[in-house]
C-alpha cells in the first residue's frame, strides 16, 4: 500500500472527512502560496494540475487555468521545480492528461513526480484498460494511480476499478466535466457502489461548489474534492488569505 492510501485511511479512520482542493500548477507566480494557505486552512491533501493543451475532461474554468499556466511556460518540470519551494506535509496528487506523461516518458514521469514529493496521480483519459503501463511505471515509486468511478459505470466494472485504484477512489458526482454543479448529483449512489466491494477511501468530486454541497456529499463519502469553484477564485486573482478563508469554510462545514 502506497503512502497516499495509508495517509488517507488513517485520517478517515480517525473520523475526519477529507478535504482535497485542486490547484492548477503554474497558473500564477505565487501558486504555491495558495497551496500552503489551503493546507493551513485544513486541506488534507492537494491536487496539482499539470496543464495540457486539450483538457477533454475539464470545463471552462480549469481549461482557462490550463491556458494561463501554459502561456506562462508551465511544464511538468517547472511545476516540480516550484514544488521545492512548497512547505506542506499533506499528500500531493498530480492531475494531468496521459499525453503529458507519455511524452515525458512513463517511468521518467513517475520518477520525477515521486522525487518531487508527489504521491498520487489522476490521469482522467487513461481508461482502466489502458492503465497497466502507467501503473507499472509507478511500481518502483510511491506514486499511487487514482481511478475515477462514474455514475455510468456498471456494477461489475466498479468492482474492477476499485480493485485497481490506488490511494482512493474518485467518485464522480455527475456525468459532466469539471465545474458543472447543477442538480443534486449522483455521488452518493457512486460511493455506495464502490462500498459494495471495497473500503478504500472514496471521495466525491465534480461540481462540489459550496460548503453545503461538500457537507452533504461527505455524509456518505469519505470526503470531497473541490476544483473549479476554487480555481475560479484564483482566476479572479484571489490572495493567499482569500484561499485560506475559502478552504476554512469548507473545512468547518465538513467538521460540523
Amino acid at each position: 500500500m502506497k503512502s497516499l492510501e495509508r495517509d488517507l485511511r488513517a485520517l478517515r479512520d480517525a473520523g475526519r472527512k477529507l478535504l482535497v482542493p485542486y490547484f492548477m500548477g503554474g497558473v500564477s507566480e505565487n501558486w504555491t502560496e495558495h497551496v500552503e494557505a489551503a493546507v493551513l486552512a485544513g486541506a488534507d491533501a492537494v491536487e496539482i494540475g499539470i496543464p495540457f493543451s486539450d483538457p477533454m475532461m475539464d470545463g471552462p474554468v480549469i481549461q482557462e487555468a490550463a491556458l494561463r499556466a501554459l502561456s506562462r511556460g508551465t511544464t511538468l518540470d517547472s511545476i516540480c521545480d516550484d514544488l521545492v519551494r512548497l512547505d506542506v506535509h499533506v499528500p500531493l496528487i498530480a492531475m494531468t492528461y496521459y499525453n503529458i506523461v507519455l511524452h515525458y516518458g512513463l517511468e521518467r514521469s513517475a520518477g520525477k513526480l515521486s522525487s518531487s514529493g508527489i504521491s498520487g496521480a489522476i490521469v482522467p483519459d487513461l481508461a482502466l484498460e489502458e492503465t497497466e503501463p502507467w501503473i507499472a511505471a509507478c511500481d518502483d515509486t510511491d506514486v499511487a494511480t487514482v481511478l475515477l468511478v462514474a455514475p455510468s459505470t456498471p456494477p461489475r466494472r466498479v468492482d474492477r476499478l476499485v480493485a485497481t485504484t490506488q490511494g482512493f477512489a474518485y467518485a464522480s458526482a455527475r456525468m459532466a466535466v469539471t465545474g458543472k454543479s447543477e442538480g443534486g448529483g449522483e455521488g452518493e449512489r457512486v460511493v455506495r457502489s464502490i462500498r459494495r466491494s471495497s473500503d478504500v477511501p472514496a471521495l466525491i468530486g465534480i461540481g462540489i461548489t459550496t460548503p453545503d454541497q461538500a457537507k452533504q456529499a461527505a455524509e456518505v463519502s469519505d470526503g470531497v474534492i473541490v476544483g473549479s469553484a476554487l480555481v475560479q477564485t484564483i482566476l479572479n486573482h484571489a490572495s493567499a488569505s482569500d484561499v485560506e478563508s475559502f478552504i476554512r469554510e469548507f473545512r468547518s462545514a465538513l467538521d460540523n
Binding site: 495540457f52 493543451s53 486539450d54 483538457p55 477533454m56 475532461m57 475539464d58 470545463g59 471552462p60 481549461q63 491556458l67 501554459l70 511544464t75 511538468l76 492528461y97 496521459y98 499525453n99 503529458i100 507519455l102 511524452h103 515525458y104 482522467p124 483519459d125 487513461l126 481508461a127 482502466l128 484498460e129 489502458e130 481511478l147 475515477l148 468511478v149 462514474a150 455514475p151 455510468s152 459505470t153 456498471p154 466494472r157 476499478l161 464522480s172 455527475r174 456525468m175 459532466a176 466535466v177 458543472k180
Partner: protein, 394 residues
C-alpha cells in the same frame, strides 16, 4: 462485411492497430464506447442492418458513385487516371457514408440524438442531413473561428434542423470542437450518440468509420474491373483524419497497389508528428517538446487537424501505405488544373491529392502508371475562398 484482408484487419480487442488506437477516454464515456463496440459488432454482422445501410446509401446518398476516367488530365500527365467520385455523393463528399451508418446505428441503439464536431462543416452538414432524414435531434460543435469562416455551412445545418454550437475554447477550431463534443457527450451519453467524422477517436470509432467508408474502395475495385483494371498501380487520397483514404485503401490493401495518403504540410501528423494520445486514441500527432498539441494550419479546413487516424499511423509504420505532404501554395493550381481539364472543381482537401499527382507524374509515379484518385469532395464550398485568394494574388 469485414474487409477481411491482411493489411487492414480488425483491430485487436483493445482496439489497437499495431501500437496505435486504443481507448483513452474518461471513465464516464467508457461504458458508451463499450456499448457502441458491441452494438456495431452485432449490427455489422446482421444482414438486416447491413442491407438497410446499403439501401440508404443507394436510395438516399446516390451510391454507387461513379468511377470517371480522367482522359484529358491523364494525357497531360502521361498517366492513366481514374477518379472515384465522392463529390457526387449527397451533401458533396464521402462524409455521408459514415454518418448514414452511424445514424442508423444510433436508432438501433435506441438513442434519439446525435452530436458531432465539424471543421469546414462538411461532416456537420452530413450529420445534420442524416439526422433530419431519421428524425434525430442533432447538435454540431464547430470552432468559433470556423463558424465565421464557413457561415453558409452553419446556415445549411440550421436549415436541416440542427443546432450549431460555436466553440470558444482553445484555438476555436476543429481540435477544440472535438474536445467540446467529447465534453458534451459525457453529459448526455445515455440518450445521445457522438457521431465522429473521421477514422479517429477511441475504439471502436476508427474501425467503425473505416468500415462505413470502405464502400468507397469496394465499389472502386469492382468498377475498375469494368475498365479492365485489375488493380491500379497507385491509389491516392487526401488525409485529414483519414476517413476517405481509409475507405478507398480498404478496397486495395491486399492488392499490389501502392497506397498513398496526402496530408496538408501544415497538418502533417505522419510527416512531422510523433506518437501521442489525443481525442481518445494513441496515434501520430503534431506536438511540441512537452507533449502539448500543436494547432494545424492548412488552406483547407478539412485537413486542419494535428492528428491522423490510428490505422494510418499503423499503415505508415508498417510501410503498407506512404504519406506525403503538400504545401498550401500548390493547392489552388491543382484545383484549377482539374477544373479546366476535366470539368470537376474539387474540394481544397481533394486538391492536395491532385497536386501530388501532378507533381509526381513521371517521377514518384512512373509514366504510364494507372492511378486511382479518390475525389473526396466537391469544391463548391471553397469557391469563395479560392476567389479571395486569387484576388489577393493578382
Amino acid at each position: 462485411m469485414s474487409t477481411n484482408n491482411t493489411y487492414m484487419n480488425e483491430p485487436d480487442d483493445r482496439g489497437r492497430f499495431g501500437e496505435f488506437g486504443g481507448r483513452f477516454v474518461p471513465e464516464a464515456l467508457m461504458p458508451a464506447c463499450l456499448e457502441l463496440e458491441a452494438a456495431f459488432t452485432e449490427a455489422w454482422n446482421d444482414t438486416t442492418f447491413v442491407d438497410e445501410y446499403h439501401t440508404v446509401l443507394r436510395e438516399f446518398a446516390g451510391r454507387p458513385t461513379p468511377v470517371t476516367p480522367l482522359t484529358r488530365l491523364g494525357e497531360h500527365l502521361g498517366l492513366r487516371i481514374f477518379a472515384k467520385r465522392e463529390d457526387l455523393a449527397h451533401t458533396g463528399s464521402h462524409k455521408i457514408n459514415n454518418v448514414i451508418g452511424q445514424t442508423l446505428l444510433t436508432k438501433r441503439m435506441g438513442k434519439h440524438r446525435v452530436i458531432a464536431e465539424t471543421g469546414a462543416g462538411q461532416h456537420g452538414v452530413a450529420t445534420a442531413t442524416a439526422a433530419a432524414r431519421l428524425g434525430l435531434e442533432c447538435t454540431v460543435f464547430m470552432g468559433e473561428v470556423d463558424t465565421e469562416r464557413q457561415i453558409l455551412n452553419v446556415f445549411r445545418m440550421e436549415l436541416l434542423g440542427s443546432r450549431v454550437v460555436p466553440v470558444t475554447t482553445g484555438s476555436r477550431t476543429l481540435k477544440d470542437a472535438v474536445n467540446e463534443a467529447m465534453r458534451e457527450w459525457v453529459t448526455c451519453v445515455s440518450d445521445t450518440h457522438y457521431c465522429i467524422g473521421s477514422v479517429m477517436g477511441p475504439h471502436p470509432f476508427p474501425w467503425m468509420v473505416r468500415e462505413f467508408q470502405s464502400i468507397i474502395g469496394q465499389e472502386a475495385a469492382r468498377q475498375l474491373l469494368e475498365f479492365g483494371v485489375d488493380h491500379p498501380d497507385v491509389v491516392i487520397a487526401c488525409v485529414g483524419g483519414g476517413s476517405n483514404a481509409a475507405g478507398v485503401f480498404a478496397g486495395f490493401a491486399n492488392s499490389p497497389s501502392r497506397l498513398v495518403g496526402i496530408e496538408a504540410a501544415g497538418g502533417s501528423a505522419v510527416g512531422s508528428g510523433s506518437p501521442g494520445v489525443l481525442h481518445g486514441m494513441r496515434s501520430l500527432l503534431m506536438q511540441d517538446e512537452f507533449g502539448q498539441i500543436e494547432e494545424a494550419h492548412s488552406i483547407s479546413a478539412g485537413l486542419d487537424y494535428p492528428g491522423i487516424g490510428p490505422e494510418h499511423a499503423h499503415l505508415a509504420q508498417t510501410g503498407r501505405a506512404e504519406y506525403y505532404a503538400i504545401g498550401d501554395e500548390d493547392v489552388i493550381p491543382a484545383l484549377q488544373l482539374l477544373s479546366e481539364m476535366e470539368g470537376i472543381i474539387p474540394a481544397l482537401e481533394t486538391a492536395h491529392a491532385v497536386a501530388w499527382l501532378a507533381r509526381e507524374a513521371g517521377h514518384a509515379i512512373p509514366s504510364g502508371s494507372t492511378v486511382l484518385l479518390n475525389l473526396s469532395g466537391r469544391g463548391d464550398k471553397d469557391v469563395a475562398q479560392v476567389q479571395a485568394i486569387l484576388r489577393g494574388q493578382s
